[in-house]
């Protein structure tokens, strides 16, 4: 899961710390925009060999690092389970 953190930090020029916790809403904080989000989804799908549905992508759930990690964990578990 560190790869997700690294990707977001590298791609969106932030560092997660006390002032910017993993639960921060990346859209509301102006860190991620729609195209950045698409890049992220593509990265996750490739990196973890998973596929998100349109509903999952646009559902407005995966807005923080914590939520994204959780969603990916669930996807990976569903695939391997």
């Amino acid at each position: 899961m560190d790869k997700i953190r690294e990707f977001i930090e590298e791609q969106f020029l932030i560092e997660f710390d006390e002032s910017f916790p993993e639960t921060s809403d990346l859209f509301k904080e102006g860190v991620m925009d729609s195209f950045g989000y698409i890049q992220l989804i593509r990265f996750l799908e490739k990196e973890f060999d998973i596929k998100f549905t349109e509903q999952e992508i646009t559902g407005g759930v995966m807005v923080s690092l914590a939520q994204i990690e959780l969603a990916v964990e669930q996807k990976v578990a569903a695939r391997t389970g």
Partner: protein, 654 residues
Amino acid sequence: MCGIAGIVDPTQPAGALSGRIEQMLARIGHRGPDGAGYVVDDGFAMGTVRLAILDPNAGAQPFGDESGRYWLSYNGEIYNYLELQRELEELGCRFTTHCDTEVVLKAWITWGPDCLTRFNGGFAFALYDRKTGDVFLARDRFGKRPMFYARQGERLLFASEMKAFLAVPGFEFEQDPAQLSSILGQWTPLPDQTGFKNIESLPMGQWLRLRGGELTTRTYSQLRFDEGPDVASEGQALDAIRERLTRAVELRLRSDVEVGVYLSGGVDSAIVARLAKDFATKPLSTFSVEFDDAEFDESADQRLVSEHLGTRHHAQHITHADIAEKTPDAVFHAEVPAFRSAFVPMFILSQRTQAEGIKVILSGEGADEAFLGYDLFKETLLREAWNELPDDVRRARIETLYPHLAHYGPDDIAAVTGLYHQFSLEKMPGLFSHELRFQNGRFSTRLLKEAGDPFEAITALVASTEGYAGFSAVEKAQWLEYKTLLPGYLLSTQGERMSLAHGVENRCPFLDPDVFALATSVNLKFDDGFVEKRLLREAFRDRLPERIVDKRKFPYRAPDAAAFAAKRPDYLDLVLSEAELSAMPFVNAKFAQKLANKVLSKPAGEISTKENQTFLYLLSICLLNRSFVRREALPEAKLPRVEKVVNLTEGALT
């Protein structure tokens, strides 16, 4: 074209203000290298640096009336001045010159501020009534010519460019984080913003009066979409477009010096060149910039137009080194933060234009706003209709909308479709059309420690604009373009600030009020808007090469961060050094440094548009801080030959 500057300071006698106004004019001497002139009175001084275009020998400024009561410092051109002169002569006015300056003065004396609605042109002027002491400033309806002012207690300063204020003792520039947030968010300043505290831009279509220490502003011209003529058929529309544009070009060729054309390679400037060529009595000079990089270069199309019309073409090749070398000078002339580097080549091009002996050029600016040339308008139409459209139509439209953006390729269509879905309903009141664009802007505001709400000012502006709520979604998009990107970047940073840096005046036929009014009558009336500027193209189909008529909109851009990464000019320290960055307390130094390092070290392909954009903002904010706030690396001020000095304390009113 000229530059003007002035100062109202009741504490200062005329004698004390002479030196001051000379120094202010010297700071904007590039705008009018042909001569300087000024008028002083107790508590008041104003002057002009002049680029002599009409009746060059008679137009020395400031221009006074016969009685010596009214004095005018005037920048710009009123293209319909001959018609106004005839009208004024019928009312009993007598004229001693063939200059539009005299027409402006007499029109003011005859009609007062109502004269402004009669003017077809790009202008800004200051008028002093010696009898009452009133000072009156005005600016054209589209914001073609600039007018900045600063109020400090009883003192009022005004000038065509803010750099004139550098010459005023005690005046200090301070960057305003709240305005910077707004500028970064919406890409350009709003009509009244400058990026500096306590300096305002007089918005387009407004006048300002200082009377007895009291400042009053009024809007004399609103942007409206319901004042065009009735057009019943497409054939009629095409005839009217040809007729009005031909007239607009003809009016803008009124000049006692040779007029050239800037060719971008697109259809708009090709139309302007075509029409200018029709009126030309000698070979027409055309000018273009070209790049090594195919991503930016349009030289093949520029040459095609030039060859088709038989023009004397001057192509200015622009390299990464040129951009890196000239950026500090160009930013100094622009005076406001810029979101891309494309204005720098225009700075270089105006230098070339001046060297070729051309003082006036025509360009195609304003066509995209009037005739719906930007993808933004199509995107707005699509998002607005989104919830009524079947899936296959949505996807087909998305696929055709942005073929040049990789992330709109077939692989990502599903995801992008989903995102469009999120943007199908208005979230930012009144700003529906620009919500996607403003996402990039929001990213750029991360350069600031406290960005606040970057969109507070623009939201308030549209909410307070009479009639705005009743506009269609596309009209709102147009309105926003006419109030932000067009005046705040295209006409200024990339337009007149760059051309006037080298004494070249630019004129825009597509900003003719009659052309704009016609466009509002015909847009979306005979098509669905998905072929951009279709009517404009059809109107000139037989008069230009087919490849140009059918060319898709190619946004004019230049190498951004790549140019700086390749050349590593010394001034990059401003954005890389922690000490330099922390000297600007409003900047988020950590983010800024991270961004600069990424942008300057990664291959161009790995840098996103918004990162490039944000880097240019950072660099321009730092360069402006260095020259305006810290007053370091300032170019030399140069006063043109003084050709007129009037001291009003030495003569009585006649």
